[in-house]
Symmetry: C2
Subunit: 201 residues, 2 copies
Amino acid sequence: MSSTVEDSRQEGRRAPMAKSERTRTRILDAARELFNERGTAAVSTNAIAAEAGISPGNLYYHFSDKRQIIRALQEQIVGHHENRWEPSSDAAENLAKLRENVMAAMGVAWEYRFFERELLALLRADEELRAVYTEVHERRLGEWLRFGEQLVAQGVMREPGPPRSLADLGVAMWLIASHWLSFLESREMPATRPRLRGSVI
Amino acid sequence: MSSTVEDSRQEGRRAPMAKSERTRTRILDAARELFNERGTAAVSTNAIAAEAGISPGNLYYHFSDKRQIIRALQEQIVGHHENRWEPSSDAAENLAKLRENVMAAMGVAWEYRFFERELLALLRADEELRAVYTEVHERRLGEWLRFGEQLVAQGVMREPGPPRSLADLGVAMWLIASHWLSFLESREMPATRPRLRGSVI
DNA sequence: GTCTATATCGCGATAGAC
DNA sequence: GTCTATCGCGATATAGAC
């Protein structure tokens, strides 16, 4: 369920949802689930409504468009990645944080795996989506770089030798983190929590 | 164009194609191109026919189904990966082969990037596709393992320390090779040949 | 082999009742 | 806010002429 990820970084106690807000959320959950299974293009708004347990028409009260649904899901993803990678002056703490963040990134990548998968097509089809994506990832890579430099400075990690850079390492880690669980799934090894833990070290 | 990949492993001189065969090939090329751009579900058979320069009806003379087209593309992919990873007794030769194969894998992954991207959805939607996929990848991983063990035995490579194994390393390399170019593309750094070379070392 | 024409279906999106 | 009904469109797949 969505809760696996949902809980990790939200405020401890959630404000009671308005009725409208709850429906909106159920639509997004349903859409995410179906997108992951079949891909965005193969999922009709009708199917989303059915999965969410509402009428087709009602869906259009909350979202003007399928694209709007995808954009809303993107916002959720961005939210999940916010405010990690603040480097600490304590080396052990940073190492723990590194592990935790890679785990978290894997979890998010899994729950929203349709997004990484269809990334290029999605970005091509929606300029607004692309704008947000580029901006966020620019920022994220910068954060990772500062964090990585700190790790190197603290002797927790060796800098990769030329011609490879810290940025390259970041990219490689990002690629692995975002696709590892999907890979397991494709090999018919269902991605369970313990398996996730086992994947990180 | 497709030739980038097409040429790499085929017999030196291609037999002259029958008219039927040529149309079939043009359909597959068109489909691959469009699938990569927009994703399989978003591409109609009409669009494929148009891109291939034939009529919608004609397409159904050559393929009974969109699924059949995808299956045919899968066969091409499998063909491109056949007969690499035969370990040699010469260490330098193996190292060169490792590089060459990673490059080649990247190239294929790029030309057929829709396939990796939509993998889970595709496998879920087509039992036959899944059967071929599992079988081929089982075999492939075995080949890589024997190759990797040879590299270790020849002192070209260190075995990763526990709890990571040679198989894990293979998976990580596979993930990177299959997604690296797509990643570059998503960052708006178009994947050119030189960039490919630069990516491998 | 290839074309044009067409039947059938399901999707996206809106209108209007409750 | 939510539903049902419906319009218009485009997609798949087939039929039949050339």
